[in-house]
Symmetry: C2
Subunit: 138 residues, 2 copies
Amino acid sequence: MSDLLERLRGRGWRMTAQRRVVAEVLDGDHVHLTADEVHSRAVAKLPEISRATVYNTLGELVSLGEVLEVATDKRAKRYDPNAHRPHHHLVCAQCGAIRDVHPTGNPLADLPDSERFGFSVSGVEVTYRGTCPNCAAA
Amino acid sequence: MSDLLERLRGRGWRMTAQRRVVAEVLDGDHVHLTADEVHSRAVAKLPEISRATVYNTLGELVSLGEVLEVATDKRAKRYDPNAHRPHHHLVCAQCGAIRDVHPTGNPLADLPDSERFGFSVSGVEVTYRGTCPNCAAA
DNA sequence: AGCTGGACTTGGACTCGGTCCATTGTAGGA
DNA sequence: TCCTACAATGGACCGAGTCCAAGTCCAGCT
């Protein structure tokens, strides 16, 4: 996990308590937190950390490619620490829970040239929607 | 196109000038408008229409399944009048333009049971990302 | 055609996620 | 250790969307 911190230092990151804390939070459970959730977990470890710093740090991690932004619903962005193994998402329509999934097949290959309209296509996101066992039980 | 209005009347919709205007706007160009764009186009036809009404009407159209909500970026929801033929989206990372595309293959079939984690999966969205010819030229 | 109830619209206040910015603090190289 | 460029702070601000109380007006009934 300090892999992450190592890598960041290697990229010339100035290592601050705040950044360390944010990185730790993301590295903890492999869940998909909203920025606010990251913030409140960070506050638990470092009470004075500010919302703006969390947003800044998340933004930096995203542009360094260490973390993925996931916009499955339109309420809050979520942050996916699992940026290094390609995967897609399965989202509960009720509670918003997200699981990483690894479908077979390559959707990029399923988009013929005739359907690309001159775009240079660089990536694809697949979001499965459904109801999680918890919500189905309720 | 008045198909749409017919269908709505058939479902017990009270037909008001506002709803007619919103439906007309969506039925016009087959582009993917934000709620605000829908509102400003609606205002052009019916100056006193309020933002809240546009939001209400869009919400109703969505829950009737006549229009699709698309959340490709996290800024504003877009509304897709092409709800009756299944399709996916190709989004320009620069300018946000959206095209409907029809890939071959069925991504739902690509998600094995072992990757469903007890969810009942009801649908899938595929978003291709890239750069449109316009933005590539610029 | 005129009435009337209840559905629809209005607009302004409010929420929520996120961004900005001027100020203050500090990591880390010389 | 000192210096300074980079980072953190927090409070104001923004934009998209929601809520709500009051007013409006569609449509079914006579």
